[in-house]
Symmetry: C2
């Protein structure tokens, strides 16, 4: 592995004890600032081959830090609930809150390294995984999660002998064994090589690797303490987020045509055609979501649109076609405090359905580039980087077999006014209307521009937007259901083609 | 089943449409009040044999109510994460927030009925389950969860023919089938009988059953709408909680001796005895938690005690004995808003470990009868009923194989003052001390009484309290670890005895 690891790194007990007292004070001070600041969290990825002392380092960190804001996050063989969702879901579900430190055993590098070292995945996949990890870690950093990535390094022969002596006393002291899949000396050497390559490709300014010489326990612990302290300082730095936000591309001065203005709002359907078309499309959706093929993927629908554009009643038509046990609607409004304490996408990852299920988001992660942009709740740097982060998020889902169908339901301002007035007249529709809805109409042109940008930047080949002329509710419902059925059919055909 | 069900219940379409308009208005008004009030939630348990129209009733409720505050909760075959925890965990994890309505398919009655009807469990178990359900539902009611328990009733022959015609078109309309375990006409009849018995035994004032004649769809839907409205009204009633709280037993005028005053605070250990004893007990704990036997249960430790009594450092000694991947500490402080929006015990159910794991609660559900009682955060009626609810909670856990070890770490006020002063002097201990800690000392006698009551009322044979003289930290740590090892050993022996 690293040449410098071959040199002996030692620290004697007296020197260690001398530095430890001050280190502990500094760590607790810095952690107190992290807790009080409630602005950032830290994830310590504690990696290393078996026998290098992960368990001991973990206990040492607990000994030094305020344990009430420390949490150990461990990932072994995935549970069936985890297997039924995209690979990164298990890491998202445990994401610590701002102010907390999570120590991760079995990080997202583990699986990637195992697959590569055992030959289950080729080099191209290995590199693609590392590239995806880089983008993920960059996003975490910008969302206030500071990473400390540790690799405990030890000569393989020494690690083997440590492990053997630990195993002898396994009844007396717990041993953390994580790499059961890695067998024999050759794979063990390949693990070191693969780890070195991973460090090279994923040591970024935002999330650098630190290799810890782990043969001497005092040296190891002292170094871990020092980089932990450094990480706490980085997390406590003011202005960290703004500084490191992605550069904002300058706005063009050319006039941008509105996508919404270009729609044909006269489209409609008569009652008979509507009834027949809805029934046909509902039956298609029932059929396409009932088969075993569908259980290999899942369906995620995103509904965005102006107020009163008909989202709820369209979702109702979709509901009728689906088994209620596999269908869930997530209405998105203000985040809870648990959600606010974590990266933006956490609240959506919470609701990602298991395979074979359907989730509808009634408003969605696009809030950041719509309402948060227009109302100024997010800084320009934040909503601009969101396009790329959302594309990454949706890419992960589609790579995992999910179909993503995104709809913007469009009506004219005049039609909206008519519908608002109707809501005021009809008692049982009144609950849907708030004074804020009338006020929001003033921002129509701003939303128009935001929608154009959003569709331009996030309509990908794997998760395209469908703009829906919703002036006629009947037209809109049929168009949405037809589009969902078409997408499901396309995914089923692609799956069959791949299987042949 | 019920004789009245043999009479035909009909409502023609015109009469239904006439009443529906008003019903819908009233439902939306009442639901708007529920949402605005944020005081209570509703769980609609939608039960009935297959073919009686559960899916249709669900869609009808979605058509009438504001779908953004409705959520469908469905329970089929448990996932492995659910199987790894007590039976009721799956219902707790989905508990809706105040203001929301959850519609439950596959409620907690389902499993109990199936076990009884198929003969997997005898009548005594059936009755015991129903009794436990009664206590559970009473607790939910008092915690602000209003239950609507529906049973869709239909002549078995008719239900069978409905199901057959639905099955023919299964590709076109989803069918909710839940009772796959019930086979043949005889078991089907026994299901009706068992359901009738369950209604009789679990129709309480807090959570009555409503049987819905389901042969005529208009009659069925109208009746569901009416009881739904009635339930919303019940949930919106002011003062509901206080009225129905359990009667408060009058306080005795006799002097109550303090349990804490009776402890021998001079107990201590010398360094050599301490080192040897701690190591012995840690090894016992490592051994007792490593075997396959332990994986059939789990360990839940509760640490309560005065400030500075030494909880954290004791927990650290336990941590050293355990595999970090199976061990988690839950420090309990102020609840989040998601926790506040749900029944009191929800935040603890969230953290119940899977079998084979160890969870430590650093402060716990006893907060209600300690700090909330002393500070007046909970009403007297609320903290008094908590004793019984906590006993039920812990009983469920131990019935499921968990060992519960509860510790009160006791020090004298003088020792506490010494430790506070030390914390002020030593920099890295300072983070643990707040001005509030000094103020809390004034309430020492109140805590003393609260602890005596708590131990009297919640030290059960299945989850006893251990009072720990903690004036000497060494004594306390050894006593706690010894007690945990003894409890684990006792559980392992009991398991072996049962297996023989």
């Amino acid at each position: 592995m690293f040449d410098s690891m071959k040199i002996e790194h030692r620290l004697d007990k007296a020197a260690f004890k001398e530095m430890e007292h001050k280190l502990r004070e500094d760590l607790l001070d810095a952690q107190a600032e992290l807790i009080a600041g409630k602005a950032r969290s830290i994830l310590v990825l504690l990696n290393g081959a078996d026998g290098t002392g992960k368990g001991a380092v973990l206990n040492q960190l607990y000994g030094w830090l305020d344990a009430r804001k420390l949490v150990t996050l461990t990932y072994e063989k995935p549970t069936d609930e985890e297997r039924a969702r995209p690979r990164m879901w298990r890491y998202w579900r445990d994401m610590p809150a701002r102010g907390e430190i999570g120590i991760v055993l079995g990080s997202w590098y583990h699986h990637v390294l195992v697959q590569h070292v055992t030959g289950a995945e080729d080099r191209a996949h290995f590199l693609a995984h590392l590239e995806a990890i880089n983008r993920f870690e960059q996003m975490l950093w910008r969302e206030g999660v500071v990473l400390l990535k540790l690799w405990l390094a030890m000569d393989p022969a020494k690690a083997r002998s440590v492990l053997a002596s630990l195993d002898e006393k396994r009844d007396e002291r717990p041993v953390v064994r994580e790499w059961g899949e890695i067998r024999g000396g050759k794979q063990r050497r390949r693990l070191d090589e693969a780890a070195a390559e991973a460090f090279r490709l994923t040591s970024t300014i935002e999330a650098p690797w630190t290799v810890i010489p782990a043969s001497d326990t005092h040296y190891r612990d002292a170094m871990v303490g020092e980089v932990m302290l450094d990480t706490l300082h980085r997390a406590n730095q003011a202005g960290l987020k703004a500084e490191n936000a992605s550069p904002v591309p300058p706005a063009s001065s050319l006039p941008v045509p509105s996508l919404l203005a270009g729609l044909d709002y006269t489209r409609t359907l008569d009652e008979a055609a509507y009834r027949s078309a809805i029934e046909t499309q509902q039956k298609r959706i029932t059929r396409l979501t009932a088969g075993p093929k569908f259980r290999k993927g899942g369906l995620i629908c995103v509904f965005e649109g102006s107020d009163a554009a008909g989202k709820s009643s369209t979702i109702m038509r979709l509901r009728e076609a689906l088994d209620p046990r596999c269908f869930r609607v997530h209405p998105i409004s203000a985040p809870t405090d648990e959600e606010r304490a974590r990266p933006y996408l956490w609240r959506f990852w919470r609701s990602i359905p298991r395979r074979g299920h359907v989730a509808v988001f009634d408003r969605s992660w696009y809030g950041r580039v719509l309402v948060e942009r227009v109302e100024g709740f997010a800084s320009e740097a934040d909503w601009r980087r969101a396009y790329g982060e959302i594309n990454d998020f949706e890419h992960q889902l589609t790579e995992d077999g999910y179909v993503i169908a995104k709809f913007w339901l469009a009506i004219t301002p005049e039609e909206q006014a008519r519908r608002f007035e109707e809501r005021e007249r009809v008692a049982y529709k009144r609950f849907k209307l708030t004074p804020e809805d009338w006020r929001n109409r003033e921002k129509w042109p701003l939303y128009d521009a935001a929608v154009t940008d959003m569709v331009d930047r996030t309509s990908t080949f794997y998760a395209p937007w469908t703009l829906v002329e919703a002036e006629s509710k009947k037209w809109a419902r049929v168009k949405v259901l037809t589009s969902i059925a078409d997408r499901l059919e396309g995914a089923a055909e692609a799956r069959t083609a791949r299987a042949d």
